[in-house]
Symmetry: C3
Subunit: 315 residues, 3 copies
Amino acid sequence: MKHYLNINNLDNLQNTVQEAITLKKNELQFEHLGKGKTICLLFFNNSLRTRLSTQKAAQNLGLNVIVMNFGSEGWQLEYEDGVVMNQDKAEHVKEAAEVIAQYCDFVAIRAFASLTDKEKDKAEIVLNNFKKYAGIPVINMESATGHPLQALADAITIEEYKVAHKPKVVLSWAPHPRALPHAVANSFVEMMQLQDADFVITHPEGYELDTEITKNAKIEYNQKKAFENADFVYVKNWSSFKDYGKVVCTDENWMINEEKMNVTNNGKFMHCLPVRRNVVVADEVIDSENSIVIQQANNRTYSAQIVLKKILENN
Amino acid sequence: MKHYLNINNLDNLQNTVQEAITLKKNELQFEHLGKGKTICLLFFNNSLRTRLSTQKAAQNLGLNVIVMNFGSEGWQLEYEDGVVMNQDKAEHVKEAAEVIAQYCDFVAIRAFASLTDKEKDKAEIVLNNFKKYAGIPVINMESATGHPLQALADAITIEEYKVAHKPKVVLSWAPHPRALPHAVANSFVEMMQLQDADFVITHPEGYELDTEITKNAKIEYNQKKAFENADFVYVKNWSSFKDYGKVVCTDENWMINEEKMNVTNNGKFMHCLPVRRNVVVADEVIDSENSIVIQQANNRTYSAQIVLKKILENN
Amino acid sequence: MKHYLNINNLDNLQNTVQEAITLKKNELQFEHLGKGKTICLLFFNNSLRTRLSTQKAAQNLGLNVIVMNFGSEGWQLEYEDGVVMNQDKAEHVKEAAEVIAQYCDFVAIRAFASLTDKEKDKAEIVLNNFKKYAGIPVINMESATGHPLQALADAITIEEYKVAHKPKVVLSWAPHPRALPHAVANSFVEMMQLQDADFVITHPEGYELDTEITKNAKIEYNQKKAFENADFVYVKNWSSFKDYGKVVCTDENWMINEEKMNVTNNGKFMHCLPVRRNVVVADEVIDSENSIVIQQANNRTYSAQIVLKKILENN
């Protein structure tokens, strides 16, 4: 594996999950693997879990870490070819990417969706330009359309907590006051498509995700029916994809509460965090024993660490 | 010692001061103690001395350090229970604190007073919620009501420079154009109450500190009288506690100058810095040989390092 | 060498260039030289190359690195003596510099020109005050009037790519929408004055650099004539020095294009970056085989590393 831009970059999801679970038992086992090498974490957007867990994972592998907040510590980049750069963009990504590659062996990037230009977002302008011009391995720390480090952490968590061989997993939309990207939901769907599971997506009509990603995944518009006998309920808000980036529903009835969880098969509650309590999920659910959001966040370290280990071993 | 939230968390101030002075002579003696462990420094407010000295102290102990400016690199946290989080707070401290504890072994926090809500400030909302939910040791890098790393550095400095067995130490208020918190003054008072010293506080009427902290400490409203025969003059501005967070006096006559220092017992001038010259203190005093503000700042490293060492040894 | 404020602080430019080229072949050879020592990188202005390459260079030498963005993470400093500090400056540089020196062994500083006050800029207020008060080695990461780490990287690059013993090197002004400092051009001129080269500066009338720096360097106002038979074309915009900090010409005819490069002696194109494409330089030139801007950026690591090595060995 050279880059990690998408969960499908993994040769084999199941093996990777097992390797991560093994690594977790002895996280400093490969503390010399990254010696003398440097990873640059580039943030075009804010972060808590990704910022801390990726640093931690890199340090566990002995890598030097350089963190840069591109917005506040750098300047705006131009991504278009052939432009006369006489406006607000001070540097072209061609130079920025290639220059960063002079100082670092790997670059991890967080660059959210605009939610205003669907085609640009789908083109993954930032990630793909860095991949094209940097020449070094690029790791996706949440891009316009995906969050594969999160999805791998989710897979590790499901593997650790599943009881049935073939669990029922529900991805449920929930309300949120602001327009949020599709990245987490997309990568979760892509990850689930690699699993042996009964997978159902539930959301209000109009909140269909990109069908190029969901393909023939089962969609159930009745949330309560979707939850029946679920082993895992994975909750996330996203804005409309059809009416791109718009909040077309804020129906509080879609919030996850105890009554809904009661129809599951003692289902585990999952969320990538940050989460707005009593908007997305009721306190009674996130504070219950069946909530595994912290364990899920913990697995962000091992998700990043196994990805970095694979990239280190193959570069 | 699990947490360091208050100077009173130390088992024994005098012994700790001696241990710090010993450590200072060989600051890399315990460079392997923190190996493989990570401290997260969370800044909700700006910092120079604390930012640098705590990083230095942690590195001296071999700890990995992750610095995060929560305001600019993260988002606003909710601290209230049961709130419907549909406004500007993106994450509850319950999740944020517990998540940080997944990646880090210790968390140090700077979160200043609001100076608008006395009860909330006294409740130390940020610090206590992190203590409650993180489960890992929490270190106070200046909170709403205290700055115990500063107070310990002050104690080390007084020990190094005292001549008399029982020195006279004066805490003097001085004018300042902006409303400042009580944290440094509070912790200094609490620290002095653990010392064998003749301790006097001087300030204009209306600037009484919280009596739950000062208890029966001696207050002398005549600054010059307070300074007589003082071995140490510790200067700090704070806003009114009674008329909470207000600047009720800017009387320039309270500025520290040479004339006032002349009535002391060749007294040393101390200040936690940053200090506004010729507002809080005249150039002639801070530039004099009796000014030990730099030595005091230097001791911030050893204050932080002895605290981290104690926490490392007991966790 | 104690400080590195100016290219002339180097004992011998040619020897330093050779040492850097040797170091580049085995960049981890001195990875223990900085063990237990700490460098603080203070940014009063944004940065990409300098931020990353200086961190990389320091890590290659085993130094601990503390990065601080003074504007967003600290507060404004006062640089004048005797001021009553009752306005917006929270700390005097006297204290700030001396305090930083308590925690760090070296301090590297980026502080751009104001471009509004020529005398203040020429006085290098920030750099010289830190040098005066910190007492530790100070490294210039681009100041009001110079960028000697860039100039040393430029010298390394010219040495690596020169064919003739005495190359013709042209420093050409190029248009830019914003007013830019003179620092890079100044240091390049100072560096070239230490070289055995045919050196020519070309710019529109009114864009003369400070004659205290250019001295008797050859100026050719006809850009195309200047380019004839050039081995290296070093391009940079700067604002007017005479009409200080003003943009007095934006003539697009000064942009570097293929037609102009064709009159050179198969000349290499150099720029310190970031560069505005199709304003400063046409895509056809920066994307050509003769463009060595990335190799030049790469040498920023070895420029910083050889400087830090020399300072480490002499302190």
